[in-house]
Amino acid sequence: MKNNLDKAGLQILEQKTTQIRWELLQMFSHGKAHHFGGSLSCVELVTALYFYKMNYTIDNCTSPDRDRFIMSKGHSVPTQYVALALLGIIPIEELPTIKQIGTRLQGHPDIKKLPWLEAPTGSLGQGLSYANGIALAARLDGLRFNIFLILGDGEIQEGQIWEAAMTTSHYRLTNVCVIVDRNKFQSQGEVDCMMGIEPLLDKLSAFGWQPIHVNGHNLAEICQALDLVNGMQDRPIAIVADTVKGKGISFMENTFKYHNFNLTIDQYKQAEKEIKGKLSFFDRSQEDTRGR
């Protein structure tokens, strides 16, 4: 297991985030509505989980003691699709089939079609309960692994999240780790204006969790927080990650407008140009040969 992140390791992770944003854009293309905002805000979080923290590879992805990742805010599953493709678990050529009839890449996670998604989510607020169930079963079976999930900051308006937050701490399921992607926007507006969730860290603390506040685009900070998760802590850990909705594509940042949006070809070209600029510092010959 990787315990420390040196400078080279950090750089590899950073390149991975650019690659994921690039693949997201290739998958979404233009002319069809996709959940850009929330998929882009959690790229660093998903990267740190799959490519740093989790015991999860193409070789152990069906093993009973693998770590699990659940995208509780199911509309951001595209980022998980890309991560699974980069791990070699689903073919990268399959990504553009997202939301097309007959695809395994449904608009929201379907575990019957793609079991590696770990949990059926989409209708919001149900992921943490499901994670608790996995943890309870693991405890009965004497298995030790961690279960991570990303919640949206809008999603935690759902009451079931707080029922489940009680259950996690009541049963001391400290191998369950929540990451809140606090990008401050939900589908129709600012979270603070729609239905305020603050003070979030105090609330989590009151529910028996250990809250940790990080910059959700700073990989070193995210990885440092994840290092604390080992299932042996006194309290379950909740990482509150401050992020930017639409991160990485300037015109999508800090607005709810691109929560679920259909890009024009001009907007798409602009977005591609911005990501491409960052791609240039590493070898992108692989990307370019796929002829998109």
Binding site: P64, D110, I111, K112, E118, A119, P120, T121, G122, S123, Q126, S129, Y130, A131, N132, G133, I134, A135, L136, A137, A138, L140, D141, G159, Q160, E163, A164, M166, T167, H170
Partner: protein, 322 residues
């Protein structure tokens, strides 16, 4: 068992759950602060770790059960029928039915027989809610023995099932020589021209009504639809051909339950074959109220007298019968 060999289906459920838990360490039970009423708490005598108290949080319970099932547990979740199916419907839809989670939904104190607690606690629409979910099986035992058959079948099958249980004690109703198979209707009694289609403990009242008709020289058939989904389509088609009148009788709204299932299939019968007239006996488009189970069954025409009255009203008074 209570007096006169009467038994509530929830009681036999608790006994069978304990047997299964002894046989298989993957069997677990969850409840929302009703474990002693639903009998799910019985499992704690086998292994207290396999009874998981979820507090008063049905939505959390259903999703947690789905997560446990994902890891190979055979999860029996419990609450009153109305709270499981109503309060947590979306969780059942997304995390139980859609991925075919191996979760057994046990809705206790169903129908009118949760009597004194009134409309808020009576479940008259649970069969309708569960029946419309793809991948879901819906089964309702009529007596103790059938409860054991259904619970054991639920344990063996892979995938979700809703089992509707009652606190109403009834005698053993179904002869041992009538085979049980999930999805296959059971002929309790053959008849001519008139037949009853029913399920659950109210079968005892239908039997009493059939006995009464027999005294008047009418041989009414009686069929137990212990499985509402998948419904026995072939049997319903043959029944519609054989009889002139079919009465569905259920401790449930006349909307969405067995009566509706029969209507859907009978409406689809093609060709020139003779088709029975269907009459649905059940709770009309109304909520329940407080009262004893017997009082409520009588009020809604589901006691033997009420069932008889419906038959007389619809069949004899038309003048075309016999």
């Amino acid at each position: 068992m209570a007096d006169n060999n009467k038994e509530a289906t929830r009681d036999r459920y608790g006994i069978t759950l304990v047997e299964l838990a002894r046989e298989d360490r993957n069997v677990v039970a969850m409840d929302c602060d009703l474990g002693r009423s639903t009998r799910s708490y019985n499992i704690a005598e086998v292994d207290p770790n396999r009874f998981i108290e979820m507090g008063i949080a049905e939505q959390d319970m259903i999703s947690t059960a789905a997560g446990m099932a994902r890891c190979g547990k055979i999860v029996f979740v419990n609450s009153f029928a109305i709270f499981i199916t109503g309060r947590a419907f979306d969780q059942i839809r997304q995390q139980i039915a859609l991925p075919s989670s191996n979760v057994k939904l046990c809705g206790s104190s169903a129908g009118l027989t949760q009597g004194p607690d009134g409309a808020t606690h009576q479940s008259l629409l649970d069969v309708a809610l569960m029946r419309m979910l793809p991948n879901m099986t819906v089964a309702i035992p009529a007596d103790g023995n059938q409860t054991e058959q259904i619970i054991r079948t639920a344990y063996r099958m892979q995938g979700p099932i809703y089992i509707r249980l009652s606190r109403y004690a009834t005698p053993s109703l179904i002869n041992d020589n009538i085979a049980f198979e999930l999805g296959k209707a059971q002929v309790i009694r053959e008849g001519s021209r008139i037949a009853f289609a029913t399920y659950g403990p109210v079968l005892s009242n239908v039997l009493a009504a059939a006995d009464e008709l027999q005294k008047q020289g009418i041989e009414a058939g009686l069929v137990n639809f212990h499985t509402i989904k998948p419904i026995d389509v072939n049997f319903i088609e043959s029944m519609a051909e054989k009889y002139s009148y079919i009465f569905s009788v259920e401790e449930h709204s006349i909307y969405g339950g067995l009566g509706s299932a029969l209507a859907e299939i009978m409406a689809g019968i093609q060709g020139s074959s003779k088709t029975a007239t269907l009459l649905r006996i059940g709770v009309q488009d109304t909520f329940g109220e407080s009262g004893t189970a017997d009082e409520l069954l009588k009020k809604h025409g589901l006691d033997s007298g009420g069932i008889m009255q419906s038959v007389q009203q619809y069949v004899f008074e038309t003048g075309e019968f016999i």
